[in-house]
């Protein structure tokens, strides 16, 4: 039986009908049309469905939609400002840190979670932060370089 739930996604409050079987991923893609969050493995291994829940990274395939009320959810769509990309996205473009692009939204969100709590991560910390995000094109070096560059740029922006 479907129930009405209220949830906050990218700063906007939504009231939607959810089946208890719906995952947060289904709610975002199917009901809210936020298709930037991708479905990969569907069992928490690949990380392409990563979103932020109260600032922490979560696999949207491992959380039920009915668990969403009371939490602030941020998806990849919530990171850019209109057509202005987030510095992490800019850096991935500039460093060629995207190949097929399917893992990219999850990588960006995991990188955002990292830089929010650790603005100057080491390479090892960056690699650990994206360990739950699989890139089957295996372009990790450029992704790591892009996140490091974004961190440097964002830290510089703060100092200016």
């Amino acid at each position: 039986m479907k129930t009405l739930i209220r949830c906050t996604v990218n700063g906007e409050e939504h009231t939607v009908l959810a089946d208890p079987r719906d995952r947060l991923l289904d709610l975002l893609r199917g009901r809210l049309g936020l298709t930037g969050t991708k479905e990969g493995c569907g069992n928490g291994n690949c990380g392409t469905c990563t979103v932020l829940v109260d600032g922490e990274p979560v696999n949207a395939c491992l959380m039920l939609a009915v668990e969403a009320p009371g939490h602030e959810i941020v998806t990849i769509e919530g990171l850019s400002e209109g057509s202005k990309l987030h510095p992490i996205q800019e850096a991935l473009v500039k460093h060629g840190g995207t190949q097929c692009g399917f893992c990219t939204p999850g990588i960006v969100v995991s990188a955002k979670a990292l830089l929010d709590r650790n603005p100057r991560p080491t390479e090892e910390e960056i690699r650990h932060a994206i360990a739950g995000n699989l890139c089957r094109c295996t372009g990790y070096d450029k992704i790591v370089a892009a996140i490091a560059a974004a961190a440097a740029e964002m830290a510089e922006g703060v100092e200016k």
Binding site: D19, P20, N43, P57, L64, E67, A131, G132
Partner: protein, 292 residues
């Protein structure tokens, strides 16, 4: 996945009375339950979310210096809790091995225990710390040694309508240290081929007064290594002793051969991991002991 109802009670009693309604399962982090239900490995007509129950979602300091970790508290919250990080660093480090950071945001220690996978990385360190399991059910509340909750792969000794409410860590003992090590082919996002948790306590002469060794992935449940523990008592921790304890632990293990490793390989891993974890305990206590 068959349709199910979803309830989120705000008390333990509420959860237990819902559990009596038959084909129900409790939901903590959901990182095991949700894929299991979607893949048809588990089914339920009612899913009871425990995360609105304050008792299950808080870490409380006990008057005797110990801690009660609510069964639904996430790995991330456990690892970043200042008292756990300082007084029980092996617990903080081992919950950081469960899945990815994304999984740790959701996954609970209670779930890692009740899913009852012999490979659960969160379990050996808490058993080494003499953890107790607080259980609530239709007949009331009870408390048991945590290791008694495991019945076999995927099975616990919880009775019908019972839930694990908290994991109680006794106050840290002076001159003691714990460490957990696992072996995985990949550095991250992998399941332990074997794991070893160790805890030692030294007496005033620097000899080992007490020892606890808990092995992962080498038996139907997490296993203590009694002959290795017994060998350590009364001895000063030196390299030859911890290596011997490792070999005895390998004998205590009851591994099977599967896709992750052969039984013989697992025994070798137990021997090395146990000795290395013991050496790490020694290191935490200011003693330099070489490990293999």
């Amino acid at each position: 996945m068959i349709p199910f109802k979803y309830e989120c009670p705000d008390s333990v009693e509420g959860a237990i009375s819902l559990l009596r309604q038959g084909n129900a399962r409790v939901l903590a982090g959901g990182t095991d339950l949700i894929p299991q239900m979607r893949e048809g490995r588990r089914s339920a007509e009612l899913v009871i979310d425990l995360k609105r129950i304050p008792e299950l979602t808080t870490i409380s300091e006990l008057t005797d210096g110990g801690l009660a970790i609510g069964a639904a508290v996430s790995a991330t919250k456990i690892a970043s809790h200042p008292r756990i990080a300082s007084a029980y660093p092996a617990v903080a480090a081992s919950v950081r091995l469960i899945g990815s950071l994304q999984v740790q945001t959701r996954a609970s220690l209670g779930g890692n225990i009740c899913n009852a996978a012999p490979s659960a990385d969160g379990v050996p360190a808490v058993i080494c710390h003499k953890a107790r399991a607080r259980i609530a059910g239709p007949e009331g509340r009870r408390e048991i040694a945590l290791e008694e909750i495991f019945a076999g792969p995927g099975r616990t000794t919880l009775g019908p309508g019972e839930i694990l409410t908290a994991i109680v860590l006794p106050a840290p003992e002076p001159c003691s240290a714990a460490h957990y090590l696992r072996f995985t082919p990949r550095r991250e996002m992998d399941i332990a081929v074997a794991g070893a948790g160790t805890w030692i306590k030294l007496d005033e002469n620097g000899a080992i007064a007490e020892a606890r060794i808990t092995l992962a992935s080498v038996g139907p449940t997490p296993l203590r290594a009694p002959s290795a523990e017994a060998r350590l008592i009364g001895e000063k921790p030196i390299q030859s002793l911890i290596e011997e304890a490792g070999r005895l632990a390998a004998g205590d293990a009851r591994p099977i051969s599967d896709t992750r490793g052969s039984a013989e390989y697992r025994r070798t891993l137990v021997s090395v991991l146990t000795a290395r974890a013991l050496a790490a305990c020694c290191g935490s206590l200011g003693l330099e002991v070489e490990a293999p």
